[in-house]
């Protein structure tokens, strides 16, 4: 088997979360690569939508930001900031959204706002951007994160983007997290909204996964994550990220 990096495995795993004909609200980095990979393999009819308002986006050069001129030049339509959120996310036209964050808990609540107290933060993070509405409105949300204890605490300091929560009046919510893809494992949310380990990446021990996770995991009999195939690695290395910006 060919050698591969953790990032390449994450990209290949994320690509498998995308189905043909999906409309995906794409972020920079692993999500963009995963969409590029899925589109060239099993999802040729995938529609990529960036929060800058570019609809059905294609690109030759990997974008550095979600608003790069390459994305505008490679799109089929460009809508306003208000419209991309209202006509696409709020209206239920997005199948898959990708999110990351500084902290993620077992229910998929994501913190990208502050570490510590909101009014006197230890670390001020960038904030929601469009993350809260992606979590709220995308049909399936896939969370991408390094697997570290500080990233996966028992509870988040601040819920920027909602996970599986139940409140008395939430009929306006339709979204829910689907899976967490880390550099050690893939977790999937069960019907009660709890993240369980579905598979552990090759070469990673179960106790390493538990030690890096802030809540107790059930690790008996979990599968090994499928390795990236030659064809996937070839597309990632030679077409999508030849300069190894995200997958080196």
């Amino acid at each position: 088997m060919t050698e591969y990096t953790k990032s390449e495995l994450m990209v290949a795993s994320a690509a498998r979360e995308i189905h043909d004909d999906d409309a995906v609200f794409v972020g920079i980095g692993v999500p963009t690569l995963a969409c590029g990979l899925a589109k060239q393999l099993h999802a040729p009819n995938l529609t990529m939508i960036y929060e800058s308002g570019t609809i059905d986006t294609t690109f030759d050069e990997l974008p550095l930001s979600i608003g790069d001129p390459e994305l505008a030049g490679g799109s089929r339509s460009i809508v306003s900031l208000y419209d991309v959120f209202c006509k696409y996310l709020q209206a239920g036209r997005i199948d898959v959204g990708f999110l990351g964050g500084a902290q993620i808990d077992r229910y998929g609540n994501i913190n990208s706002t502050v570490i510590g107290d909101y009014d006197d933060p230890t670390v001020r993070l960038p904030g929601s951007g469009g993350a809260c509405e992606i979590a709220s409105n995308a049909n399936r949300t896939v969370i991408i994160t390094p697997h570290e204890p500080r990233r996966l605490p028992e509870s988040v300091d601040f819920a920027t983007s909602p996970g599986h929560v139940t409140t008395d009046d939430e009929p306006t919510r339709s979204g829910s997290p689907e899976a967490i893809i880390t550099d050690k494992a893939i977790m999937r949310f069960d019907e009660s909204g709890d993240a369980n380990v579905e598979s552990i990446h090759p070469g990673v021990r179960p106790d390493e996964v538990q030690q890096a996770t802030g809540w107790e995991l059930s690790l008996d009999g979990v599968d090994e994550t499928a390795e990236p195939k030659e064809k996937e690695l070839d597309i990632i290395r030679n077409r999508l990220d030849p300069n190894r910006r995200y997958t080196g």
Partner: protein, 304 residues
């Protein structure tokens, strides 16, 4: 730009310098710093480097935002120093999500008392921002979050080209630029090039900012650098990456401001300092849209 800024902006005003990644009015921000305005409320979905500089310069008392980072790079260090440590002064924040910031501007542009948004449910954000409220749906049994209009005192907007009346052709990522113009009390428009009115009249569908909204029109090529103008110059990604280091400490950032803002007289001097080679390296290859037949009608597209 010097006159436009000094005539429209006052200390304590709420400003919206618009442009979502694209066409960010950096030159206007630098001019605001040079003129030494204070106690400004700065609103932008993404404060970006332009507000980071204005915060470090001490112009700002409050920031309304939804994502405060350096896109593709990391943190906005001056913003973080102000929020975390009160350097150079304490700033207040009013925090939203992108859809809520966009909805606030749209409500302002449409003259509405509020707009509903499908977000925030299960998020901690509404606990820290009492302008985010929840109301009964008058047509159903559920409840929905709403946000109030944002009506900036001054919006600075950029576009690729405009006529002398301020009718502006805008293409590429339009973001919240037209809404910012419609929502504001006073509007400063800066463009890459001033063109004859016949150019604008040839394609009114491309006019996203009509001149009747505009108080000042400024021809200011490269005024969005280091962001970009679709078809005119690319995003200067090196400058965004270099900001990580240049803004790492308050002292270093003040040195940067001394060199690039205070020591230059205006945007033309900034460009001279940047150098022709740098600007040429950002120039994209030209590609043109296919012409559309709009028909020849009397009194339509030509003016004598």
């Amino acid at each position: 730009m010097r006159t436009a800024i000094s005539k429209t902006i006052h200390d304590g005003d709420c400003l919206y310098l618009s442009g979502f990644t694209h066409l960010i009015p950096f030159a206007a921000g630098h001019e605001i710093i040079r003129q030494g305005f204070e106690d400004l409320t700065l609103a932008r979905a993404t404060p970006d480097l332009v507000y980071d500089r204005m915060i470090a310069a001490g112009c700002v008392k409050k920031v309304l935002f939804s994502w405060a980072g350096n896109p593709g790079v990391g943190s906005l260090h001056a913003f973080r120093r102000a929020v975390e440590d009160g350097v150079p002064n304490e700033i207040r924040t009013e925090e939203y999500t992108h859809s809520a910031t966009a909805a606030r501007l749209r409500a302002g542009a449409h003259g509405l008392p509020f707009l509903p948004v499908r977000t925030f449910e299960g998020s901690t954000l509404p606990e820290h921002n009492d302008t985010i409220r929840k109301i009964d749906n008058p047509y159903g049994d559920d409840r929905i979050y709403v946000v109030p209009p944002l009506e900036p005192d001054v919006s600075v907007v950029r576009a690729q080209r405009a006529d002398r009346e301020g009718n502006a052709h805008l293409w590429g990522i339009t973001g919240e630029i037209p809404d910012a113009a419609y929502a504001a009390d006073r509007v400063v428009l800066a463009v890459e090039e001033l063109v004859d009115e016949s150019v604008i009249a040839s394609d009114p569908n491309r006019t996203r900012i009509p001149g009747h909204l505009v108080d000042y029109v400024v021809e200011e090529p490269y005024g969005a650098h280091p962001s970009y103008a679709q078809g005119y110059y690319n995003r200067d990604n090196e400058a965004y990456q270099a900001w990580e280091n240049a803004s790492a400490t308050h002292e270093r950032l003040l040195e940067w401001l001394d060199e690039w803002v205070y020591a230059v007289d205006d945007h033309t001097e900034y460009l001279e300092k940047l150098g022709v080679g740098r600007l040429q390296s950002l120039e994209p290859e030209a590609t043109y849209t296919a012409p559309a037949n709009v028909g020849a009608y009397t009194g339509g597209t030509t003016h004598d």
